[in-house]
Amino acid sequence: MKPFDFVQPRSARDAVAQWGPDAAYLGGGTNLVDLMKTGALQPARVIDVTRLPGLDRIEVAADGAVRIGALVRNADLARDADFAVRAPMVAEALLAGASGQLRNAATLGGNLMQHTRCPYFMEPDAACNRRAPGTGCDAIGGAWDNAAILGHAPSCIATNPSDLCVPLAALDAVVEVEGPDGARDIALEELHRLPGDAPERETTLAPGELIVALRLPAEAAAFAGHARYLKVRERTSYAFALVSAAAAMRLEGGRIAEARLALGAVAAKPWRARTAEKMLAGQPPGPDLFARAAEAALAGAAPAEGNGWKIDLARRTAARALAAAAAGTPERMPALPASPFSLSEDLSHA
């Protein structure tokens, strides 16, 4: 690991003032420290933001909107009863990610900003336009088949690995940032970028901008009764998604009044499926409708690297997540959050 200076600012303004092109903000460190060990990231200064005051709170406003400080740990957000009752699929996605230890350390801001798990990004000797612009992409023609199926480019086929971001995109979450030029809001859906010809710009944050909070609009709670996150993995727990889907709906008089659908691990950003959402609105829920909506969600998908299987898997995962959402949010968090094994009482992985 390259040597670095370590600072612990006591205000967000101070943190931003200490930032420079060679600096990195440190949350729980579960991604940054890992990538510093491999050498993929080599900051000369690490700015520990975990002692900034006031950013570790979850606040529910009178109108039902929720504001979550960037330093709230993933485990604490998932287990906050007021929050989980308003956004159960966000809690489910959090609990389906990483492990108990990692969730205790990982912060909200760090989770939103975590980097791709593409092995060629994580390995500094590989060619990677995302990590080292202009060097090429060893993932193309390489040995990683969990690459993108939507929105990829000849420059980069990486995916965004965050489970949390998938339901947040579906629920129109908004990210609050502070930076050298002041404070602003960014729609979560606009936070991550598709690679295009500048994959090194992973997000739309300007240099030095710090995430300070995330807001869920009051409307999000209207979906709480019918909301599921479904995550397909190589093993039941402690594994990143092959594909995932966050599905939610408002039902009125036996019909879907409004639906939300987003897919994870399919692109460099959480993939909101608006065309599918429109198809679902006004219809009675049912397997045929869900299959057609899932088909629409994957329209335009193309394998990036021998991973055509992900297209089928994503379609089926989206359809199953919609069916699970229609069946209703479980009263208690399933023993295996987001697992296909949690969809039916008859199934157990044991």
Partner: protein, 165 residues
């Protein structure tokens, strides 16, 4: 860059001078404080062998920079027993054959102590398995581990401070 941190390590206050910001909590314990009970498996958050409690919460010490811990309370496997009396989780691992080679065991035990304190798994084997999934066992002693955590969870539910141990 050299600096100083204060830790409470297994109940004892320690002033620690560091000459390198890169030191993780895991390396601090093993290489500088002569506390090798905490194990290094992957060094990348992928196995759980390095699990310790920081301010009562289980975390991976391999991904935690020591520099971030000024003022923290750290509990390692060396800090669980009271003299010769084992912690209920330690005793349960013995009673249920929750180990084979033993390399993952300190991490498993610290993780189980953390999980029981979180209070979300109770004595449901499926929830215990899910809650313990951050600890890989190369010898696959998983069945015994699940039974051990269940035994300890039941016992500590009746006797939360473990005074009867």
């Amino acid at each position: 860059m050299s600096f100083q941190i204060t830790l409470t390590l297994n109940g004892t206050a320690r002033e620690i001078a560091l000459d390198d910001t890169r030191v993780t909590l895991l390396d601090l314990l093993r290489e500088r404080l002569e506390m090798p009970g905490t194990k290094k498996g992957c060094d990348r958050g992928q196995c759980g062998a390095c699990t310790v409690l920081v301010d009562g919460r289980r975390i991976n010490s391999c991904l935690t920079l020591a520099a971030t811990l000024d003022g923290a309370e750290v509990t390692t496997i060396e800090g669980l027993a009271r003299g010769d009396a084992l912690h209920p989780v330690q005793q349960a691992f013995i009673d249920n054959d929750g180990l084979q080679c033993g390399y993952c065991t300190p991490g498993q035990i610290m993780s189980a102590v953390g999980l029981i304190a979180e209070g979300t798994a109770g004595d449901d084997p499926e929830r215990i398995r899910e809650g313990m999934s951050g600890n890989i066992c190369r010898c696959a002693a998983y069945h015994g581990i699940t039974l051990a955590v269940r035994q300890a969870a039941r016992q500590m539910d009746n006797d939360p401070k473990g005074d009867a141990a």
